[in-house]
């Protein structure tokens, strides 16, 4: 069965979510991954937005995390304070998995969603942190969605918005951050993870039909590709649930 790159990315992300996880997500593909996980492999995971809604029903796809669609049928409607405290909290925070995106990422999973160019005289200004820096600071595991492009996988970020493993190994500890950091990068070509000790990014999997060389060509920095295996494509059932249950209007999945 044919599937799109976006569908592949969504399903790969959904598989990272474990039953019992509290999934911090934004709108778009990250929310869709959380919805897919809940419907496929992690029925008792919880969808959770920085705006303060816990376990929203999502009868319709929200266009923003503040969309009224996240308020209806939630377990609880709070506010930003509640949401971020849940992630910084020692008990609930341990169960949170964050899903983020960015304009740039470096080899240690640090990300930039603020500017391209000089901070005081930027070539391109993006939205800025939003809650991403907080999530990346607090939670033990996060998934980062990226387009696999050379200008996005960079040697040096123009601005470090949200901490990954900072300068590697003990980077987070030295900075005073909670343990954790990014666990997996999901792109339109591949899945990257981080070495346990060095915290350097490595190629963990490539999508069917994508060559390792092509992946490397689309990054400014080198990564270890020796452990990479082909990523299992979405199963029929995964696709069926994603398409029919999660985004039947293809508001986020886009055209086939």
């Amino acid at each position: 069965m044919k599937y799109t790159s976006r569908e592949m990315m969504t399903i790969v992300a959904a598989r990272q979510i474990r039953n019992g996880d509290i999934v911090f997500c934004g709108t778009g593909i990250s929310m869709l991954a959380a919805m897919a996980a809940k419907n496929i492999n992690a029925p008792e995971s919880v969808i959770f937005f920085e705006t303060g809604a816990i376990d929203a029903q999502l009868d319709e796809i929200p266009m923003a995390v503040a969309d009224s669609r996240v308020m209806f049928g939630a377990s609880l409607n709070g506010g930003l304070l509640d949401a971020f405290a849940t992630m910084q909290n020692r008990i609930t925070g341990k169960k949170v998995i964050g899903i983020l995106g960015a304009a740039q990422i470096d080899r240690f999973g640090n990300i930039n969603s603020t500017v391209i160019g000089d901070y005081f005289n930027p070539d391109v200004r993006f939205s800025g942190s939003g809650g991403a820096c907080d999530v990346a600071s607090f939670v033990p595991r996060s998934i980062i969605f990226m387009q696999h492009e050379k200008r996005k996988f960079v040697n040096k970020l123009d601005y470090l918005t949200s901490p990954g493993h900072l300068d590697g190994a003990d980077g987070r500890k030295n900075a005073g951050l909670a343990p954790g950091g990014p666990e997996v990068i999901i792109t339109d070509m591949a899945v990257m993870r981080f070495h346990d000790t060095t915290k350097q990014m490595y190629l963990h999997g490539y999508y069917p039909g994508v060559k390792k060389e092509k992946i490397l060509e689309n990054m400014e920095f080198e990564v270890d590709v020796s452990m990479a295996e082909e990523v299992r494509p979405p199963s029929l059932e995964e696709l069926k649930i994603l398409r029919e249950k999660c985004d039947p209007q293809r508001l986020i999945l886009g055209k086939i």
């Binding site: 709108t27 705006t51 809604a53 266009m63 995390v65 506010g79 930003l80 820096c133 951050l177």
Partner: protein
Amino acid sequence: MKTRQNKIMGLEEAVNKYVRNGSHISIGGFTINRNPMAAVYEIIRQRIKNLHLYAHSNGQGVDELIGAGCVKKIEIAYGGNGKFAATCICFRKAVQKGVIEIEDYSNYQMTLRFLAGSMGIPFLPVRSSLGTDIVKKWGFSRESRLKDPKLPDEKLITMNNPFGDWLNTAKVVLVPAINTDVTIIHVQKADKQGTGRIQGLSFADTEQAKSAKHLILTCEELIDTEEIRTSPDQNQIPFINVDAVVHVPHGAYPTACYKYYDYDPVYLNDYAGWAGNENLYKKYLEKYIYNIKTHEDLINLIGEKRLKAIKANSSTGYATDLIRS
């Protein structure tokens, strides 16, 4: 006197009375929901300039204030508008052109800064942003801070945990309190004394409201004091914080107001298109803001049909099956 029984005012009067050139302000809501848009348009209409704006992710309202040239400085976490603008267009252009000064924070940090202001303490600690450029890069220089009594002398301070390793925490970032000159929020219900009720998510509105020297409440519905007090558990805004109560139906339009109406995708998409083009944007300002007298006139201009399309379903609180792409 913030305890007085009747604080009802017209919007023009309330904005004129409390929002001045150079005021430090914040607005409620989040991206495309419950922004106090009627008040935002009134500020633009009154040609108020040089505002110092504090924002977490207030979205549409912030972008319109910037687009219309009302803002000089902004402290902000997120200048986006959900699916309608990954980065708000006027915001992006203004920062790239250097026409506004900007300082970056995270959403939690901005919220904690309002909370600190509402609690009357100079700072709050957080474990967010250690090791990032949010700590390292200041949008406003130390020199400019020292000159301005309305700004703290430091952006953020990294401090060792004075309680040793209590809670396994070696370091915290301290975020300084915000107390605005005026904050404007739009709530679903209020009484004339200023008790306010937000339905659905409150975002950071409560903290923003309580950190303001002056607070303008615009409301969808004005209800009797006796009625609003039958469910005191559901009220979040204490009247002792409020200076003005303004009754503005559709006061959050074109953003959403849970239980009343949805965001208007037509307006937000049109806006995104116009904001990208100087000529079209000028025309937009003329037609939808400057040549309009009151928010009611804007609502009339939008017309029955579009309002009907965004009317909230009484059960879900939003417009089910609204065409949104």
